[in-house]
């Protein structure tokens, strides 16, 4: 039989189409595994450590720019700023005294009522290493990782309120997903009247959504939302957002409530990681509920005829 293969003068390995198919299948397999399971986290961590110095390198121009700006600040500005800080400090000190006495009073009252005390939590300071470069996601990286015992799931706050949550921990870095990310939900409470709800990120850097509130819900523009602490992730009473728009259209079952985050989600360089939030008491086993449900059904059945 005649050899019908095409004559090839140069050996260049497999054709471009074959390569494309091979690498596409490889990528799709990786995508599938990464989206469904967590097998690839260690590989990710190894590569993250390799490229860490490069990423710090790219942040240098910005840091130098900021540093130069600070260096050139006039003394006049510094004096003015110092004076303002002193005033602020005096005002804060007065408030702090008041708060200490209130706290003592609160503790005493709680003891009288036999309610468990509000537990304290510790904070760990971290600097933003760099912000996410992907337009689809609202994430940033901070310079504390496994080396300082950061754990995935811890809340991240700044002086204004909740910034987000640690979602992935690398040896030297951690990834923080901002509250404005589409995948994040924070259980909150309205300060004015104590309504509990859940606020969702909208994917837009300056907006949050308060979903599933009935049209007649008592929520007004200007209401401040704080964490309720019901999930065991966020400590209670941290400010999250302020309502900026309420649309009540009776044609829809729920009101459309838009909030603005109170934390400087894209302003600061220094953030605080909330660690050691006390664990919530174990929820009762789920089986009991099932039993209850069965019993209820039986009762219903019995009462039917």
């Amino acid at each position: 039989m005649e050899d019908t293969r095409t004559l090839r003068f140069f050996n260049r390995g497999p054709s471009a189409v074959a390569r494309l198919v091979f690498f596409s299948v490889l990528s799709l397999a990786l995508l599938f595994v990464d989206a469904k399971y967590n097998y690839l986290e260690s590989a990710r961590q190894v590569i993250a450590v390799i490229i860490y110095p490069l990423q710090r390198l790219t942040a240098i121009p910005g840091e130098v720019w900021n540093g130069a700006g600070e260096y050139i600040t006039l003394q006049r500005h510094l004096v003015a700023e110092n004076e303002q800080l002193h005033l602020q400090h005096d005002a804060d000190a007065a408030l702090l005294n008041q708060m200490q006495s209130l706290q003592a009073e609160n503790a005493q009252l709680r003891e009288l009522l036999d309610v468990t005390r509000r537990a304290d939590y510790t904070m760990q300071m971290a600097q933003i290493a760099y912000v996410e470069r992907d337009i689809f996601k609202r994430k940033l990286f901070i310079d504390k990782g496994e080396n300082t015992n950061v754990k995935a799931g811890q809340a991240v706050v700044d002086n204004g309120g909740v910034v987000g949550q640690v979602t992935r921990v690398y040896p030297l870095l951690s990834e923080v997903t901002l509250v404005t990310d589409k995948d994040i939900a924070v259980p909150i409470q309205v300060v004015r009247n104590g309504i509990r709800a859940v606020v969702f990120g909208s994917g837009n850097i300056s907006e949050l959504e308060l979903r599933y509130q009935p049209v007649n819900a008592d929520i007004e523009v200007g209401d401040v939302l704080v964490t309720s602490g019901m999930d065991g992730t966020y400590p209670p009473a941290l400010p999250v957002a302020q309502v900026i728009k309420v649309e009540r259209d009776p044609a829809y079952p729920f009101a459309r409530i838009v909030c603005a985050p109170l934390a400087g989600v894209d302003r600061h360089r220094t953030l605080l990681i909330v660690s050691s939030v006390p664990p919530l008491p174990e929820p009762p086993a789920a089986e009991v509920e099932v039993d209850d449900a069965k019993r209820m059904k039986k009762i219903v059945k019995r009462s039917k005829p």
């Binding site: 471009a16 490889l26 990786l30 995508l31 590569i47 910005g62 470069r133 689809f136 589409k182 994917g203």
Partner: protein, 172 residues
Amino acid sequence: MRQDLVRDREFLLPATTTFIVLSFFIAVLLEWMPWRGWMLALRPDFVGLVLLYWCTHKPHRVGIGIAWVLGIFVDVADASLFGQHALAYSVLAFGGLVLNRRVQMFNLREQSVHVFALLLTSYSVYAIVHWQVRGFVAWEYFLGVVTSSLLWIPLTHLLQALRRPRRDPNEL
């Protein structure tokens, strides 16, 4: 005719491996700069552009394999899903390899149109994967295609100028 010869010579300029690696290195660094807000939406895809440049100019040196490895690194740095950038860059490199003969026949302005189409495909692959996994697409993401293809002409000029050998001072 003369112009054609000049253009052919431009395409056959030598490129050392160090130069190729360095160009990718700088492209990755540019991509990792702290871009924000609208700048992030308008940020050109530097890695994709440099990759396309080498795929059209040196198709035997830079191919789909290198594109895939670059994509994996970008995936880790961007905390996107493993393989998301890798897939998009593989498709881009394939487009560059297939069109490399064809692209050489056009001048730079006409090349940008080809680059626009190729980048649009690659961006769409990325967006489709994101849409399948997360369920939404940010449309302003596609602005990057426009800025990237506008950057094609200056980038090609720059890389060609760097690859051209230094003129010998003793020559005539």
